[in-house]
């Protein structure tokens, strides 16, 4: 799995950080998404997919494979 985030679409809602804090963080200065791990372990795939599905800005893309 490969995770891509789009800072421009991010609205700082923080859903991804609440769900998968090992994969996503938010910048201190403006709350915008920071990708901590673009290739998360298999154990986190489900929660990363969930984060992508519920992101209000549709700022998270997950490439499977």
């Amino acid at each position: 799995m490969k995770v891509i985030v789009d800072e421009d679409r991010c609205c700082g809602a923080g859903q991804c950080v609440l769900l998968a804090p090992q994969v996503f963080d938010q910048r201190e200065e403006d709350g915008i998404v920071v990708l901590l791990n673009a290739e998360p372990d298999e154990g986190r795939h489900a929660v990363v997919r969930e984060a992508a599905a519920v992101c209000p800005g549709a700022a998270i893309e997950v490439q499977e494979g």
């Binding site: 700082g12 923080g14 950080v17 938010q26 910048r27 403006d30 209000p56």
Partner: protein, 401 residues
């Protein structure tokens, strides 16, 4: 489908959706409705349509165009088209800048850091409710005060003034109860209060959001103008009041209305997070929805909507769209993913959503632990809606334990 349905659509049961939602989604997803002001608007009820319009950064909440619909007869001083509402940038780079300056106070990490303080407030409020004896009113005893204490603390305003904030907040959010003169007087008082508060904060800064916004300097230093800081303070205080406060009462009422839900959470508290999201999705009484003024023509579904249309997005109707949610009418406490639209979508989605989620989760955690025997003291059919508010709620949530 009858033409020009009156909107908001009345519903008999406080926790159940009006039957019209399913009919509209099925047969008339782009419907003409009549608002309390008598003006016409276009109501959207399907998930894809609501999401499309809310996520389109070209369209905003401001209904200031001369041909925009008025929501209610008094609304020219109200929530969506007051002079004050125009002080905060609502689009483009400027909105982004504002959003990021304020948004850093609402990150998931900051919210996680607030958890212990929230839990302590919840414990104390529950202690007080228990001391007064059953039945209690979960709305007045817990749902309302908790978010108010939290937002007051974040903004550095004294919680002792909460009665005044409640009144000002109600006058700004109520579409029918107040006369125009009352709304204007309340706004004026609120403005004066916040202005004096900022003067005091400038002299003696604290460790709070407003002090930091002031310290960031004016627009030339990359900060906000004084008036923008002031209106931000007012907006956050109002937003921190009715929304989560009402949602706590509605969430607990939904979970207790069928007590097997409550029991399932007692057995498996790891479901608290998804149960909160499902309560947000199932909230049939979320209020007015979000209006948008179309500054350009667009196509929604197969319907062309001309420039100048005022659209009302019913997130609550969209959240029960069967084409997106399996068994959409069923409350599934483990549902995931749950991409509901309760906080809107896109660049204008709720700034405080991480705060709201955290508060709802903490309240539920503490309630399950402290009052496992909690139950409604009335039948669900006896619960009554608050009328006229832009944000929906229950008048009281009588409980015993």
């Amino acid at each position: 489908m009858k033409q020009d349905l009156s909107y908001p659509i009345p519903s008999d049961a406080a926790l159940e959706p009006p039957a019209e939602w399913a009919e509209l989604r099925g047969e008339c997803p782009v419907a003409r409705v009549k608002l309390p002001s008598g003006d016409q608007a276009t109501l959207l009820t399907r998930y894809e349509d609501v999401k499309q319009v809310l996520a389109d950064p070209r369209f905003t909440r401001l209904l200031t165009a001369p041909d925009a619909a008025r929501l209610s007869a008094t609304d020219d001083g109200g929530l969506f088209n007051s002079e004050m509402a125009q002080i905060l940038p609502d689009g483009g780079e400027e909105h982004l800048h504002w959003r990021r300056l304020v948004g850093k106070w609402f990150t998931a990490k900051r919210m996680a850091a607030l958890r212990p303080a929230m839990a302590e407030i919840a414990e104390r409020l529950i202690d007080d409710m228990v001391k007064r004896g059953a039945p209690g009113d979960l709305r007045a005893d817990l749902g309302f005060p908790l978010p108010v204490y939290v937002i007051c603390d974040m903004l550095g305003v004294p919680a002792e003034d909460r009665e005044r904030f409640s009144y000002w907040s109600d006058t700004l959010l109520n579409l029918t109860r107040y006369e125009k003169a009352e709304v204007e007087a309340a706004q004026h008082e609120f403005f004066q209060y916040m202005s004096a508060h900022l003067t005091a904060k400038r002299a003696e800064p604290g460790d709070d959001l407003l002090s930091e916004l002031l310290a960031a300097g004016g627009p030339e230093q990359g900060g906000l103008s004084e008036i923008q800081v002031l209106v931000t303070g007012m907006a956050l205080l109002v937003a921190g009041h009715e929304t989560t406060a009402n949602m706590i009462g509605k969430m607990v009422a939904m979970l207790l209305a069928d007590r097997t839900r409550w029991e399932r959470l007692l057995e498996d508290p790891s479901l608290i997070r998804t149960a909160v999201e499902e309560s947000l999705r199932m909230d049939a009484n979320s209020g007015f929805g979000l209006p948008r003024y179309l500054s350009e023509g667009i196509e929604v579904g197969a319907t062309a909507l001309p420039r100048g249309t005022t659209v009302v997005c019913s997130m609550a109707a969209a959240n029960r769209d069967e084409s997106v949610f399996d068994a959409a009418g069923e409350m599934d406490l483990a549902r995931k993913p749950n991409p509901h639209l309760a906080f809107g979508a896109g660049a204008h989605s709720c700034l405080g959503q991480a705060l709201a989620r955290t508060e709802l989760q903490v309240v539920l955690e503490v309630l399950l632990r402290r009052l496992p025997s909690l139950e409604l003291a009335v039948s669900p059919a006896e619960l009554e809606r608050v009328e006229g508010l832009a944000v929906g709620g229950l008048r009281t949530v009588p409980v015993r334990w």
